[in-house]
């Protein structure tokens, strides 16, 4: 923190003389300077903190003059943003002082289901009311208490502590984000992330549905990726955008493949097919680190050796070309065959790679061209560009180590949210796998360090239990791999019997989450909330959900609180940062940690083993250190972070209050590059090219009598099928997708300055499509969506906006828009596309991930 005292006395001197004479002449306006003519020295401070509005917690310096926030600027040392902020980061200053914030705890005074009328109550009363309800429901049936947060800012230890201490059912936003992609990568290579390149070295990037100019890619909410992309472009990186809409990649794309939404799986399969056909694949990687050589029997399952000792099942067999016999895959000194057939016993069996290869035979570029609506030539070009740039077999020296060099990669993130999302992402990941680019220098990455995610092991044997299930159908026969989807939860609450659920929740605690505003299928959600007895919201604003259904609203602080610790890495430099309050909490708002501590105290789960503080100690690794929080205390957030800092060898929270960010230096190649690790890929091998356990899951689901619609995408290899939306009646001739615009994506509240730049919702439409319907630019239009199965329709009115950068046949509406919060700046801004999307079967991936694709018709209003 840097403090300077600057003389502002100059003002009075300069203006004093002219003021008297000119006050009349300034049209009755006394100059602002006059107001400060008596001002003396002002104290200017720069307080380091982190951004609160986005997801990647950029480092900031808050310029504070005499205790007043004047502006936010980027923290120059923070690796993620290097002294810069995105437009929202800068503009959030308006939100801090926003007079529309919840200023004090509120209690509803009217019936639920309509916009609320509120009375202010004391914190004590509010906390007592909420704690009593929670305590009551926990005593009767803990399953009926649901806690949900939109997005955890910083480390979610204090959320987890609350969930664990109370035993609440936790819901989140992932199924609306890119969880299908996460699940696909967790399943296939054990990494928690989707797809991103090694920007320092990549030479050819497939920007697959990556909205470079508006939205973040994998792991970052925005700013870091464009910074790295621009540098990579100046280095000469080529970019091909596979995207129905060029707006996102804009001029950063050298080629544009305007793929039809939802057909990415077909495209990926065709590219895989071409790579194999051209034999531009990395045999070494596939043989050594994937299950490609595993032998597969007629039943689709691996051939296995006899189990030894305590093994549950035997090791999968591969064909050793040296000895010409089937041996366990991890036998030393073998050379497994990657493709082809072999004679094992009496049967002729193929390797799983052979099966994959054969499965791709139908997936010719011409076949994909028809599905994806792009010329086959474009697909061929992508495949040959990939092959050419992958430089299979080449190596590069990084810090003394010789590593494989495959400078091609894919960036894909939110496009995972489609009906075949899980399998599409698997198929997309197969492209870098075939090229041997996974984890290679310049190749395919998905997380900042190569470490195993818990689902890697879990997915080897996916649990599929008999009912009854919990409300998000965990381990159910419906969605065994499950990204908990709160729109599906709404559907379950509305139809519990159908999903073999024997209760519905009574108490909801919503922590800065707005299911009615942010998630698809608003109607389904509203119906569900009508069934919930008691809803409390912790939020700095009155969200649409709170406005209609909250009984109590607890005002949370925004940036003006201690929060952390948060990763500050840009994938190459390791750092930790902390949110430091530049000013005290506005109005009567409080830090969420304070709120949770008080709630836990009242519920009776604060202290003691397994209590809130105990979990906090565990999560922050304070347990059994001299800095552990005493379990009988009631710490302040600053105190908690002080202990965290000390246990990490720092002087205390003062370090962060002064520096903001703790730089730990470059990420070592042995952490970043899996080939540089002691054991390549940290031992998380073989990569699951062939998804045997998916096939097993399918069988388990069938055994429990699940319908085909649930199990059909549980296939060992990604398999194309026609999309449910395509069965909609033909008069619904346009495909609606939702897109993000940087002005308001992920905004927690309308920031007036941002809203001003994007004042009204529009539907983007190709002029050719529009004119065919007699629609002109700026016309008011009715957009009507249809559920392909139930034929239910929904409609909104908005304004047509012409885009030549949009594939004909596709229309899109920006997400995170409309009257989603009680705020003057959203009034009249138009509808949210969430009113048009459907949830449930046909509109969910097999992992319960939401699709953002629906057929609509657009007519002139």
């Amino acid at each position: 923190m840097e403090i300077s005292r600057r003389e502002f006395l100059k003002v009075s001197g300069a203006v004093g003389g002219t003021l008297a004479a000119s006050s009349l002449l300034t049209n009755g306006l006394v100059t602002l300077a006059a107001g400060t003519s008596e001002a003396s020295a002002l104290t200017e401070e720069f307080i380091p903190t982190t951004c609160w509005i986005g997801k990647q917690d950029c480092g900031m310096l808050a310029r504070v003059i005499n205790g007043r926030l004047i502006s936010f600027q980027g923290h120059p040392d923070h690796p993620r943003n290097r002294g810069k902020l995105c437009p929202k980061g800068v503009a959030q200053i308006q939100s801090i002082y926003d007079p529309n914030r919840v200023k004090a705890p509120l209690r509803r005074t009217n019936e639920k289901g309509v916009p609320g009328t509120w009375e202010k109550i004391s914190w004590d009363e509010a906390l007592d009311t909420v704690a009593d309800r929670i305590k009551d429901v926990l005593e009767r049936d803990p399953r009926k208490f649901v806690w949900q947060k939109g997005r955890s800012k910083a480390k979610d230890f204090y959320d987890d502590a609350f969930v664990k201490a109370t035993g609440a059912t936790k819901l989140h936003h992932g199924a609306f984000c890119s969880d299908a992609g996460y699940r696909a990568l967790e399943y296939t290579i054990g990494m928690h992330g989707v797809l991103h390149p090694d920007m320092r070295h990549t030479k050819y990037l497939l920007s697959w549905g990556w909205n470079i100019t508006n939205a973040g890619g994998n792991k970052f909410c925005w700013l870091t990726w464009p910074q790295q992309l621009v540098e990579a472009r100046e280095r000469g990186m080529k970019v091909t955008a596979i995207d129905p809409r060029l707006r996102g990649a804009a001029h950063f794309a050298d080629e544009w493949v305007p793929v039809k939404p939802g057909t990415d799986l077909a495209m990926a399969l065709a590219i895989c097919n071409l790579l194999i056909e051209q034999d531009t694949i990395d045999h070494e990687y596939l043989r050594t680190y994937t299950n490609g050589p595993f032998l597969v029997g007629d039943d689709g399952m691996f051939l296995r050796a006899e189990p030894v000792e305590d093994e549950e099942e035997g090791k999968a067999l591969v064909w050793d070309t040296l000895t010409s016999e089937a041996v366990p895959f991890d036998t030393e000194g073998i050379e497994p065959a990657l493709d082809g057939y072999c004679q094992v016993g009496s049967a002729e069996v193929a390797t799983s790679f052979q099966i994959f290869k054969e499965s791709l035979e139908v997936s010719t570029p011409e076949w994909a061209a028809e599905k994806c609506g792009v010329p086959a030539e474009q697909i061929r070009k992508v495949a040959s560009d990939l092959a050419e740039n992958a430089m299979i077999g080449s190596t590069i020296e990084i810090e003394g180590k010789t590593l494989p060099y495959r400078p091609v990669a894919i960036m894909a993130y939110h496009m995972a949210q489609q009906e075949l999302g899980f399998q599409a992402l698997r198929a997309m990941l197969f492209i870098p796998m075939l090229l041997g680019a996974v984890g290679a220098v310049g190749g395919q990455f998905s997380d900042f360090t190569w470490k195993e995610y818990k689902n890697w092991k879990k997915f080897a044997d996916i649990s599929v239990n008999e009912g009854p299930y919990n409300i998000y159908l965990k381990d159910s026969k419906f969605f065994p791999i499950n990204s908990n989807n709160s729109s599906l939860v709404a559907k379950v609450i509305n139809n519990p019997d159908q999903y073999e659920v024997d209760y519905i929740p009574e108490v909801y605690l919503l922590h800065h989450v707005n299911p009615l505003g942010s998630f698809p299928d608003r109607e389904e959600n509203i119906k569900a909330y009508e069934k919930i007895d008691f809803v409390a919201a912790i939020d700095p604003w009155i969200s649409l959900t709170a406005d209609l259904f909250a009984d109590i609203i607890l005002p949370a602080a925004t940036i003006e609180k201690y929060e952390g610790p948060m990763s500050a890495t840009d994938q190459y430099i390791d750092a930790k940062a902390m949110r430091i309050p530049p000013i005290p909490p506005m109005y009567e708002s409080r830090s969420e940690i304070d709120i949770y501590i008080d709630l836990c105290d009242r519920i009776g789960v604060l202290d003691g083993e397994g209590g809130y503080l105990d979990v906090v100690n565990n999560e922050l690794k304070l347990t059994d250190t001299e800095y552990a929080i005493p379990l009988d205390s009631k710490p302040t957030p600053r105190d908690i972070f002080d202990r965290y800092a000390k246990v990490n060898g720092l002087e205390g929270i003062e370090f962060f209050e002064r520096e903001g960010v703790q730089l730990k230096g470059p990420v070592s190649p042995s952490k970043y590059y899996p080939y540089a690790m002691e054991e390549p890929f940290g031992g998380i091998v073989p990569h699951r090219l062939y998804g045997e356990s998916l096939l097993v899951t399918q069988q388990k689901m069938q055994a429990l009598g699940a319908d085909e619609i649930y199990w059909r995408d549980y296939t060992a290899l990604p398999t194309w099928r026609d999309l449910t939306v395509e069965t909609s009646p033909p008069e619904y001739d346009l495909l609606l997708i939702s897109v993000k615009n940087i002005e308001f994506k992920q905004s927690r509240t309308p920031i007036p300055m941002m809203m001003e730049m994007y004042k009204h919702q529009v539907i983007e439409i190709n002029p050719a499509d529009a004119r065919a319907k007699g629609i002109e630019e700026g016309d008011e239009v009715v957009v009507e969506s249809i559920h392909a199965i139930t034929l239910e329709t929904r409609e909104v009115k908005t304004i047509a906006s012409f885009r030549e950068n949009l594939r004909p046949g596709v229309v899109c509406m920006p997400h995170h828009f409309g009257e989603y919060v009680k705020h003057p700046w959203v009034k009249g801004t138009g509808p949210s596309p969430n009113s048009l999307f459907f949830t449930g079967e046909g509109y969910l991936a097999n992992t319960a991930d939401q699709t953002y694709l629906v057929k609509v018709k657009v007519t002139k209003a």
């Binding site: 000119s22 009349l24 002449l25 300034t26 049209n27 009755g28």
Partner: protein
Amino acid sequence: MTTQNETLPYEVGRLTRGWIAMVAVLLILMGVGGYAYYLQFTQGEIVTGLRNLGTMGGATWGLYIVFLVYFIGLSFTGISIAAMIRLLGLEKIKPIARMAETMTVIALILGAMTIMVDVGQPLRAMVNLFRYARPGSPFFGTFTLVIAGYLFASQIYLYLDGRRDAAILAKKPGRFQRFFRLWAAGYKGTPAEKKRHNQASFWMAIAIVPLLITAHSTLGFVFGLQAGRPGWFSALQAPEFVALAGVSGFGLLICIAAIIRKVLNAEEKLNQDVFEWLGNFLMFLIVAYLYFMVVEWLTATYSSGGAEASVSNALFTGEYAWMYWLTVATLLIPFGLLVYQFIFKRYRLAWIVASGFMVNIAAVVKRYLIVVPSQTHGTLLPYGIGSYSPTWVEYAVVLGIFAFGTLMFVLFIKIFPIMNIPENSEGGE
């Protein structure tokens, strides 16, 4: 009283019921205009339909500037008539000289008022313009030459030209006697004085013609020098402004003369000859202006592209086409009427007056077309099309200013003869 009043010519000092009613109406209009301006002054020009160019997609100059140009255009007439009488010896139009000069003075005052209602900081403007005005700005001419110099010159003209009549009236007892005596300033009508007046008038006329051209050109330069504004940037702007100033000024003068002829029953004095002359002169001015319009139209459409084309398309075929063609019609119809009369020598007062009225519509609308489309359709960066429609405040303020001008005119009529007093009423000659 009555006897006195009857002795003063042209109803000077005589307050008829119609006159009082008219004044009342004018005061009401001024009140409305004043209230509108009060709103604008206190709330800012947010109450107008004006908005910024570019990202606001508006026009920042609108109705006020349109009428500034129009009013200053009207001022052309008084001075030019006075000059022509002296320089060309056009004695037969002498009866309309004073009303023309009065019109000039009033129009210039109204012009100054429209500037003040247009600027955002009028009180500051009154000081800062005198303190800082920069000769480099085309506005310099508007502030100094037009508003100050021109106004001053026409007042002096009006004053000196009125001395003879003032001297005559000063001989009659009455309320205004002192005022007339003051105006006459010792004028006795001696041949020496007449000679001197003729000399002074002649030289002033000589001096004033260049001022006339400069002043109206200056206003044209306000627009014509702007390289960054398609539709404005043209060497033709200055002469066009001079020509259109003449058209509107003479047109309005015809109307005023006709009204006065009717109200004062001055058919004899304001006889057909005067109107014929005015009509013919107007015809020539219209010819000149139509020539400019043709040249302008050709230049704009022949090979233009980009923003230039955007403006001309909006003008000729787009949003503003109805106004453009209205202008053309309200110039061509009077032109046709006047040419017909000129050729066949069959003059009809009504036609002449109608022509005068129509060209004023043309003048106002054409000024609108000069000022506005280049702002809404002429951005050189692709800001897109803007829009401007005046609010009631702007209409009310302009109407109020009009009412104020009219009030000044009708008040002047009641304190000073609006035409020169006939020779026979001149005592002592």
